[in-house]
């Protein structure tokens, strides 16, 4: 459960977020939509402590996490898959996964068990565990980045444009993986997307940002059906 209230962020003179409030519930996918520069990425970066807000706060299960260091927020159970994925191409799939377990103290057997669980959720990664990440396709890399964030068993997963650069078919497959993951584990998922159509298909809740402000916050089907939102903010015109 993540709560965001009255969040304002500025980069120098540019205000990226203005008084943003919403909440994301466990076992549900909350998607944050909006055009380029709407503040979606900034919102995720603020939640995970990479950016300090000028005003407002973020709470995790009711505890205020704003103002803590990024590495502490990761430790408290917020996994963030950044835009562009950030996997190391020369490392194997499994070595990349091991980077995700840096913050958890576990025995070798426990760690291996955690990896096996993830290979169950992402069978492609299991098949390629000894292959270098550079040989993976874009979709597989995104799976790897997500699996790496899940190694530490977070309660919240922040996904920044997972569909970036992926073909429509791969995107659809990825979205269904995210949907299953959320349903089976009870994770709180915040999904930032430009691809509003695919995101709305799996999301429970949708927040629409426009130049740093929340212009809509409602159930996904309601947002998807709103002609005004579709036209002006989501670019979904038939």
């Amino acid at each position: 459960m993540i709560g965001v209230s009255g969040l304002s962020v500025s980069y120098g003179a540019v205000q990226a977020l203005r008084d943003v409030s919403f909440s994301a519930a466990p076992g549900k996918i909350t998607t944050v939509l909006g055009a380029n520069g709407a503040g979606k990425t900034t919102l995720l970066r603020t939640i995970s402590g990479l950016v300090r807000p000028r005003a407002g706060e973020v709470t995790l299960e009711g505890d205020r996490i704003t103002g803590t260091h990024a590495e502490d927020i990761v430790r408290r159970g917020v996994g963030h898959v950044p835009e562009g994925r950030g996997v190391i191409a020369e490392f194997t799939v499994e070595e990349n996964l091991r980077l995700g377990s840096l913050i958890v103290r576990r025995s070798r057997a426990e760690r291996q068990a955690a990896f096996e669980r993830l290979y169950g959720q992402f069978p492609v990664l299991g098949e390629r565990r000894r292959q270098s990440a550079g040989t993976l396709s874009g979709g597989e890399r995104q799976m790897l980045a997500m699996a790496r964030a899940l190694v530490a068993e977070p309660r919240v997963l922040l996904l920044d444009e997972p569909s970036l650069g992926l073909a429509p078919l791969v995107t659809a497959e990825l979205m269904s993986t995210i949907s299953q993951l959320c349903a089976t584990t009870g994770l709180t998922v915040i999904l930032v997307e430009q691809n509003a159509k695919s995101a709305l298909r799996i999301a429970d809740q949708a927040v629409v940002l426009y130049i740093g402000r929340v212009v809509a916050d409602d159930r996904a089907e309601v947002v998807a059906a709103d002609e005004r939102l579709r036209q002006y903010y989501l670019g979904l015109v038939e």
């Binding site: 995970s48 990479l50 260091h69 990024a70 590495e71 990761v74 430790r75 996994g79 963030h80 898959v81 950044p82 562009g84 994925r85 950030g86 996997v87 190391i88 490392f91 070595e95 091991r98 980077l99 995700g100 840096l102 913050i103 790496r148 964030a149 530490a152």
Partner: protein, 394 residues
């Protein structure tokens, strides 16, 4: 099967060494036995490597075996080479340690340092100053002190380094390299000012080594064998530690710090802490190298540890291959034998060895090598060799 390979390789080496002895004539039986044992150790390690296929299952065993092989080869060589070459080997092995340190900083965490020559100086002067006040301290203690001093200075310099990137960081470390000589001068009563310091007693070979060598051999050469061995073994230990560091949790985390610092923060790495630790490791390694130089040369002069040395170190890391262990060894070898090469050039071209050109040959050689590396082997010599190997085995 495994045992048979081991036994036959040990016997093989003993035979090879015996044949070598017959050809070149080793002065004493004791030395011959010692060399044979050493050679056997090396080949046993080699045999173990080829048989065990440990690379994936036991990476630590593999690293230990490889280190033993490299160290044994160097030790057998130093026991048989002239004392001039032995000194070159000692200097080069110490340089390898320094290069390992900078390779870790630049190759793993992506930071750049033009101050590693000065970090060497910290170690070098720590040894000289300490020895001049406590002449009887055991060598190992003095080396540990030098490493600690280097690590401390590295920590202080690493703190501002957490906020600086790229050219700004290079600028800060450059300032340290330039200021180092001036600081030494300010504390002239301790550091001996421009003329530097002599060690009160030269580091002599221990008695067991003298016993191995025949009485007729000049003591100078036993000592240079000892100094070379000291440097080589130190480099072996440094190498093994670095190989483990590269493969450790921390080493892998550092790769993420270099490639994608946002992703690094998001897996829970504290960027400032990682960068400071990288600086500390790099400075400690440099200080150990500098300390060994003082021991080998029996003296230290401030002019050695100027900006030129820092630039040479950075060039050698690039020439050998950034972020690789073989690269550091290659760089150390090049440095070790640059002097012999210069000697060869001066005698074969009739260049005045004391002249202007000859004194600048060092810079010319490294400069040409650097440009050639960047043009023909952008991943350094070790990278080029690896590509060649991959190409051949395909």
């Amino acid at each position: 099967m495994r045992q048979r390979v081991l036994v036959s390789s040990v016997v093989g080496v003993a035979l090879v060494i015996a044949a070598l002895d017959a050809t070149f004539g080793v002065p004493t039986t004791r030395l011959r036995v010692a060399l044979a044992l050493l050679g056997a150790l090396g080949v046993a390690a080699l045999g173990g490597l080829s048989v065990a296929r440990t690379r994936r299952d036991h990476p630590l065993v593999t690293r230990v075996l490889v280190t033993v092989v490299v160290v044994v080869i160097a030790l057998v060589a130093t026991a048989r080479l002239s004392s001039n070459v032995d000194t070159d080997v000692a200097i080069g092995a110490a340089m390898t340690i320094v290069l390992l340190g900078l390779s870790f900083l630049t190759g793993s965490s992506g930071q750049i340092s033009l101050g590693n020559g000065a970090f060497m100086g910290v170690g070098a002067f720590t040894v000289a100053i300490w020895a001049n006040h406590h002449a009887t301290s055991p060598l190992i203690l003095v080396l540990v002190l030098a490493v600690a001093a280097g690590a401390a200075v590295g920590f202080l310099l690493g703190l501002p380094a957490t906020r600086l990137r790229g050219p700004y960081l290079a600028g800060m470390t450059l300032a340290f390299a330039v200021a180092f000589g001036a600081v030494l001068n300010v504390f002239g009563s301790w550091t001996g000012g421009d003329s530097g310091l002599q060690l009160p007693n030269a580091e002599n070979a221990p008695r067991w080594l003298v016993h191995l060598y025949p009485a007729s051999t000049a003591s100078l050469s036993v000592n240079s064998v000892w100094l070379a061995a000291l440097s080589v073994v130190s480099a072996g230990v440094a190498l093994l530690l670095m190989a483990n560091l590269f493969a450790s949790r921390f080493g892998r985390a550092m790769r993420l710090v270099r490639d994608n610092d946002v992703a690094a923060e998001l897996v829970g790495i504290s960027l400032p802490r990682a960068r400071v630790v990288a600086f500390v490791v790099s400075a400690a390694y440099a200080a150990l190298g500098g300390a060994l130089w003082t021991v080998v040369n029996n003296a230290v002069t401030p002019s050695t540890y100027g900006l030129a040395l820092s630039i040479t170190i950075l060039s050698l890391v690039v020439i050998g291959g950034i972020g690789t262990i073989p690269g550091a060894i290659i760089g150390g070898l090049i440095y070790a034998f640059a002097n012999s090469l210069i000697g060869w050039i001066t005698t074969h071209t009739g260049l005045n060895p004391q002249g202007n050109v000859a004194s600048q040959l060092n810079g010319i050689i490294f400069g040409v090598l650097l440009v050639a590396t960047i043009v023909f082997a952008p991943m350094g010599i070790s990278g080029a060799l690896r590509r060649l190997w991959a190409h051949r085995s395909r």
